[in-house]
């Protein structure tokens, strides 16, 4: 492991999450963020060695939607490029690997997708095994509810606990100008909101939204000139589990647990409590508690602070939710988090997920100092 390179997040630009941008295509939304991220780093597009993006054709409602993004990513002259059909956090993961392979020193990582173009719950039904799960009409609401039930049964947590977690996230979201939901919510009110699918209430759900994001990565030697306070990547790991929700123990996340342990080991840490904050792709309170359990986080402790940005429960732009978590870690560690800054933050964890019931989990551990000398 000691022959790994220090790589940092040096720039991040995100448009505020909205339910539906009536006036702009996803490319129109992305272009200003690419410009902002590069301007923030004080570089031109030609200074960047590599580009990688994450998006989904089904979200776009057409095949090859990502091809259109090539233009606004500045793909002229031609660029070294890759596109992953995943949350853009996985694109950042790949860009990091590419830097480890010595194939590039700088990269832009883009995420985009207009989820308002379709009925997202119906679209995400198409992720499921087409024979046994998709065909019976399960959607993310239903599978999340199954997971939340399994977790309640396992943990003896209550509706009251769910409401408290949702309210805490909502209170944090008020301080984040990019959040979609920016209104304080009383836990009592949330716990009286209508059932969506038991045990999940309307007030516990993540509102789908759309935005566009561009994150800039740079290796040591380049990073310093591009950012006054880079967020150095200390460790990362990702794991997928089989999809079959009947065969997995939905009350736990073995994948998140293993990914966290591996990322911590790479970072030279033993526990997540060594981080000042975590940004989790938890789309409802049960997911947050499952992830905390998998990561051995005690929510009663002062540190780590959980989702200081308000997290996905204040805005869930599919295919970007994970990359925004990494962007938030950068904001915190680089002193750019504004009103939602965690005082004295030196180390943070970003988590991205993919698929139903936390099927795939990706963890980044970042710090304000370099990892390797």
């Amino acid at each position: 492991m000691s022959n790994l390179r220090n790589v940092a997040v040096v720039g991040f630009a995100q448009a505020p999450i909205v339910t539906r941008d009536l006036h702009r295509t996803s490319q129109d939304m992305l272009y200003p963020q690419v410009r902002r991220a590069l301007d923030e780093c004080g570089v031109s597009r030609d200074d960047i060695d590599y580009q990688v993006a994450g998006s989904s054709d089904y979200i776009d409602g057409r095949p090859f939607g990502f091809v259109m993004a090539l233009d606004v990513m500045g793909s002229w002259p031609p660029r070294q490029d890759l596109h992953v059909e995943m949350d853009a956090a996985f694109a950042a993961y790949y860009a990091w690997l590419r830097m480890q392979a010595g194939d590039c020193d700088t990269a832009i990582v883009c995420g985009y997708g207009k989820s308002s173009e379709g009925d997202l719950d119906r679209v995400l039904n198409l992720q499921l095994d087409p024979f046994y799960f998709g065909a019976i009409g399960l959607d993310p609401v239903a599978t999340s509810a199954l997971q939340a039930s399994a977790f309640m049964e396992h943990s003896k947590k209550s509706d009251h606990d769910f409401a408290a977690i949702a309210a805490r996230n909502r209170a944090a979201g008020v301080r984040n100008p990019d959040a979609l939901l920016r209104e304080v919510a009383d836990p009592e009110v949330l716990s009286e909101s209508e059932w969506v699918t038991g045990p999940l209430r309307r007030g516990y759900m993540s509102p789908y939204g759309e935005t566009a994001v561009c994150l800039v990565l740079a290796a040591e030697g380049k990073a310093e000139a591009m950012c006054d306070r880079p967020a150095w990547i200390h460790g990362l790991d990702q794991r997928i589990e089989m999809q079959n929700i009947g065969a997995r123990n939905l009350a736990t996340s073995a994948g998140a647990q293993l990914a966290t342990q591996k990322a911590l080991a790479m970072a030279g840490l033993t526990a997540v409590k060594d981080c000042d904050f975590v940004e989790l792709s938890a789309t409802n309170p049960a997911e947050e508690m499952i992830l905390c359990q998998a990561m051995d986080i005690d929510p009663e402790e002062e540190r780590p602070v959980i989702n200081p940005s308000g997290g996905p429960m204040c805005g869930n732009p599919i295919m970007m939710t994970g990359l925004i978590r990494l962007g938030e870690v950068f904001r915190q560690l680089s002193g750019r988090a504004g009103d939602h800054a965690v005082a004295g933050a030196q180390r943070g964890l970003a988590h991205a997920a993919s698929g139903h019931c936390l099927q795939q989990n990706l963890v980044f551990v970042c710090g304000s100092e370099r990892r390797w000398t």
């Binding site: 057409r62 090859f64 091809v67 793909s75 031609p78 059909e85 087409p130 024979f131 589990e241």
Partner: protein
């Protein structure tokens, strides 16, 4: 690359218009099992999986790698899903190369597939472009004007496309896995009906079900394998914007830049003489002549003359697509990786009946989008 990477196993399915005998998972598993068997490995030996396919609309399953995780043996492992349009099979394999080159993974399984019989490829390959009425004419409708532009630019005579089609079918006769294994005559091709001027019915690729997998390994892991590996000399993926004024769609700059980078890294200065065979992405006949130029195998405007002389035929100077290529087998998402896998088999000396004699260096190529994405590698028999 920080460290050498080798191909230690290749497996592919038998391809056909409709593999009704297997589900999507069964199809993928057939290729994975064959690749692992070829490498003398089991699922437990694999550190990560990199999978690619073309638009999810082709099968109607969104991000199908999630549903396929079990069949891929990916449970509790890292998995990356790539999609770069038609080039995806090749760019996926190159992403797997990066995984090994990074030093974090010793053995990576890479897989690409398409089960086109699950859906309607013509619809799924008809993207809606801004300010452009939807033609729903598929990839052929999109690329035919590029071929017409090539003919207009070079003055190539009309029999070149049909010659390429005939040769592809001849080659596929020597490939037991190919989808179309029926020879055709020049007369049959030129008499087949016109689909998209100048592309006739027998000058277009089929719509196939198929999958391919490879195991990539570090030097140390490769040397533990039962067979002689193929070594990756260089590999890059490039893309270019669509709406650039003056963009050359016939010989795209992304292709030229990509192959230049590959040649420089691999130490190739005279591709026509230093490369023993190439598997290149030819979905419609004329593209073979076009890519011969774009890849620097000949001067601009000379590609059709290479074909006219037959120098790219099996047993001649530079055999192109000895497997029969995309013209005879096209499970879109897998087609790029099939090109790369075939080149690995060639330098390993295990391509069977279509083995190019004495093959030491081979080039694999795929393209996609509106001729915007290019993924190219060179493999050799020595590290």
């Amino acid at each position: 690359m920080k460290r050498p990477v080798a191909v230690v196993g290749v497996g592919q399915t038998h391809h056909s218009a409709r593999r009704a005998d297997v589900s999507i998972a069964g199809l993928v598993r057939e290729a994975v099992d064959r690749a692992l068997l070829d490498a003398g490995l089991e699922h437990k030996d694999i550190d990560a999986i990199v999978i690619g396919k073309a638009p999810d609309q082709l099968e109607g399953v969104m991000q199908p790698e999630q549903y396929l995780a079990g069949a891929l043996g990916a449970h509790m492992k890292p998995l990356l899903r790539v999609h770069t349009a038609g080039s995806v099979g090749a760019s996926t394999a190159l992403a797997a190369v990066t995984h090994v080159a990074s030093g974090l993974f010793e053995r990576v399984l890479t897989v690409a597939f398409e089960k086109q019989s699950e859906g309607n490829a013509m619809w799924a390959l008809s993207p809606s472009l801004p300010f452009t009425p939807p033609l729903v004419a598929g990839a052929g409708g999109f690329f035919a004007p590029y071929c017409r532009a090539y003919i207009a630019k070079t003055g190539a005579p009309p029999h070149i496309g049909p010659m390429i089609a005939v040769n592809a079918r001849e080659n596929a006769m020597r490939n037991q896995y190919a989808h179309l294994r029926e020879p055709v005559t020049l007369e049959e091709v030129t008499e087949s009906f016109m689909l998209w001027e100048p592309i006739r019915y027998l000058e277009t690729c089929p719509s196939s079900d198929g999958a391919v997998a490879m195991v990539l390994a570090s030097e140390e892991a490769a040397k533990q394998g039962p067979r002689k590996p193929a070594w990756v000399k260089a590999g890059y993926s490039y893309a270019e914007a669509m709406w650039v004024p003056g963009r050359d769609q016939v010989s795209p700059r992304a292709g030229r830049d990509c192959v230049k980078h590959v040649y420089e890294t691999a130490g190739i200065t005279d591709p026509w003489n230093q490369i023993d065979t190439a598997e290149i992405y030819v979905p419609f006949s004329w593209f073979e002549a076009m890519w011969l130029e774009n890849l620097g195998f000949c001067e601009e405007g000379e590609g059709w003359k290479v074909v006219d002389r037959g120098d790219q035929k099996f047993g001649r100077h530079l055999p192109i697509n000895p497997s029969g290529g995309v013209m005879c087998t096209n499970p879109i998402g897998a087609s790029g990786m099939l090109r790369l896998g075939e080149t690995a088999l060639q330098v390993m000396g295990r391509a069977g009946e279509h083995q190019v004699e004495g093959c030491k260096t081979a080039l694999g190529h795929a393209y996609g989008g509106g001729a915007q994405y290019f993924a190219i590698w060179i493999v050799g028999d020595e590290m």
